[in-house]
């Protein structure tokens, strides 16, 4: 029998199937689904109107069909769900009941983590709290201005479509609380793939190349952050130098005294290939840098998720293995101070603590959202029913709610009960900001990449929306989608 792999390789260029993806799709479609599960009958519920479901007529039909047609196992499972899921979300998982967090006993808590020992949280500034990438940079908070860089010359209204074809040389700032027209700051060069971060006080904008712009005085200074790119190639005037992004993420600590820099470190290693001397490997790493001095504090391997603690003294790193722990590192020197073993079953894509230091939350790819009481070390609540694993978590300023965002939506969860209170349909969310009164939430979405071609097209599908989440209502919106 021929080796299927060789057969695949040799037939990849078959003139009838030049596209291996299309061949693979044909292979999938050639495997018809098994018959007789009875589930197909349940799928007819897709055709029933909401009114039927509300009235309960459709529900009774579903249940009768389940008992009559479907295998007993499916019916039993559905019954269990309907009867059981109305209770506490932790009740079905006895291994989580009372599960503590190893190393997080009351006596062993690092100072600053206890709820009584925390410094007062910095009030949400009437300023800007973060930036997302692309040459349309947007900084938003529910109480604060929105800033977008673009090549447009004139002031723009909120909601305007913005051309993405040219690099920006003007910075537009929208202060939503004062005006719907943007304020234009001249002479600020914003190139495609520029990466910037805003200081927490909203007064200065820092580029990955080290340029620091004072938004009030418009003066610029320079900090040496090691450069935004690796350069590859000869410096001979006729040789094009290739640039590989070095810094991939730039984030200030809440007090603005340090920077967390994620970067791609380049390593050259001896190659095993007979025709190559060396191979290039990129290795993600993390640097902690003092601001504004630019002094390196620590340099360490990066994990799956990195998150600043609200106490300004620690940051959390989760590892890239399933069933991983959460490591707590000190900002002042990067050293690991504690390991938290919260019985995460899968990958922990996001982790954060509440502003008052009371709760620690993590998104588990296997088990939904987990929230622990940091002081007692006990699991406080588990929310297993999120449709997709969260990529970002954000506690509200009061600590009463948590926003869990993934690629398709934002879910608002009440921390005390684990109840899902709202689902906001906004996709590709990169950043989430709460208003100081918990009433509104601003989410920044970004889908962006370089398509290239003769016109050098940079595709940016970015938007910023402020939600009155309790009423599922968008109250402000700025959309930079490509016009239809």
């Amino acid at each position: 029998m021929k080796n299927p792999t060789n057969d695949l390789q040799s037939s990849a260029d078959h003139p009838a199937h030049p596209d291996v993806v299309e061949r693979a799709l044909d292979a999938v479609r050639s495997q018809p689904a098994p018959e007789g599960l009875g589930v197909d009958v349940l799928l007819k519920a897709a055709d029933w109107s909401p009114a039927d479901l509300i009235a309960g007529t459709a529900r009774s039909r579903v249940l009768s069909v389940v008992f009559v047609v479907a295998p007993v196992g499916i019916a039993a499972a559905l019954l269990l769900y309907f009867n059981w899921f109305s209770n506490s979300p932790t009740s079905r998982f006895p291994d989580y009941d009372g599960a503590g967090i190893a190393g997080l006993q009351p006596s062993g808590i690092t100072s600053g983590i206890t709820s009584s020992g925390l410094p007062a949280p910095t009030p949400s500034p009437a300023a800007l709290m973060g930036v997302y990438r692309t040459h349309f940079q947007s900084i938003a908070a529910a109480d604060a201005p929105v800033m977008v860089a673009t090549g447009h010359q004139e002031s723009l209204p909120v909601g305007a479509y913005l051309s993405y074809r040219r690099p920006g040389s003007k910075l537009h700032v929208w202060n939503w609380n004062q005006s719907t027209q943007s304020q234009v700051i001249d002479g600020v060069e914003f190139l495609p793939y520029d990466l910037v971060a805003l200081t927490p006080d909203g007064k200065r904008l820092l580029w990955a190349n080290g340029e620091l712009l004072d938004l009030t005085t418009k003066a610029t200074t320079q900090i040496d952050l090691g450069g935004a790119f690796h350069l590859a190639g000869s410096y001979h005037e006729h040789t094009q130098v290739a640039k590989v992004p070095r810094i991939t993420r730039l984030e200030f600590t809440p007090d603005g005294k340090h920077l967390l820099i994620s970067l791609n470190a380049i390593q050259l290693r001896e190659s095993d290939h007979p025709l190559r001397d060396q191979d290039i490997f990129t290795e993600p790493r993390l640097q902690i840098v003092e601001f504004p001095s630019g002094k390196l504090v620590a340099h360490l391997p990066v994990g799956l998720a990195v998150s600043m603690s609200h106490n300004n003294r620690d940051f959390y790193v989760t590892k890239r293995e399933p069933g991983s722990v959460i490591a707590v590192h000190a900002l002042q020197d990067g050293k690991q101070t504690r390991v938290i073993q919260p019985a995460i079953r899968g990958f922990a894509y996001a982790v954060t603590d509440s502003p008052d230091g009371k709760y620690l939350a993590a998104a588990d790819s296997e088990s939904g959202l987990l929230v622990w009481n940091i002081e007692s070390g006990n699991l406080h609540v588990r929310v297993p029913s999120l449709p997709q694993t969260a990529r970002r978590l954000s506690f509200s300023p009061s600590g009463k709610y948590i926003a869990s965002s993934n690629s398709v939506e934002i879910t608002i969860i009440e921390v005390a009960t684990g109840e899902i209170l709202a689902t906001l349909r906004q996709s590709a969310v990169e950043q989430v900001y709460w208003s100081s009164d918990d009433a509104q939430l601003t989410a920044v979405s970004g889908l962006h990449y370089y398509e290239g071609g003769p016109e050098q097209i940079y595709v940016h599908l970015n938007s910023v929306s402020t939600w009155d989440w309790r009423n599922d209502k968008r109250v402000k919106h700025l959309d930079t989608s490509h016009p239809q």
């Binding site: 029998m1 299927p4 057969d7 695949l8 037939s11 990849a12 291996v20 693979a24 799709l25 292979a27 999938v28 479609r29 050639s30 495997q31 098994p34 599960l37 589930v39 197909d40 349940l42 799928l43 519920a45 897709a46 055709d47 909401p50 479901l53 499972a77 899921f85 190659s271 290939h273 490997f281 290795e283 620590a298 340099h299 360490l300 391997p301 994990g303 590892k319 890239r320 020197d333 990067g334 050293k335 790819s365 296997e366 449709p387 997709q388 694993t389 690629s407 398709v408 939506e409 899902i420 709202a422 689902t423 349909r425 996709s427 889908l447 599908l461 599922d472 989608s481 490509h482 239809q484």
Partner: protein, 167 residues
Amino acid sequence: MVFETSWRLLGNRADVEECVQEALLDAFRMHSRQVVDNWGGLLRLLVTRRSIDCLRRRRHAKEISPEAYARHGDEPEQRAVERELAARLRAAVSRLPDQQASVFALQCFGEMSRSEVAGVLGITENAVGVALHKARTQLNTMLVEENDDSVAKPRDAESPATAKDSN
């Protein structure tokens, strides 16, 4: 079509049953919180998400589906190639970013139109096209590179041999 979408993604009866059940319950719970305009699209979206999550949970162990082997008594070599290619495609889809995986699965497995996909995901049709193009490009690269023994794989950044800790 919901079941068919999940079957095409997973190729395993037990996983499909679980994902479809979960999706139906998700839909029921969502209905209690919001008005749903397109139940068919919503169900396909929910089952697609569940199925992609299920694909990601699978480890490296290869699954052998008795139904697939039992049906194909003739041309075993060709069928073996097709089954392996299908399995590779599924594994590759699980490695795509969420948006691309959802768009690809809804359009190519779920046979939804671009406008339908845009509607259920809450994004523009252009974004759907962009995501699909990116997904196909990445899938093509992954499927071809798996057969290329000369591609050097980067070492894990966390391996003891490479990690440097200033602590």
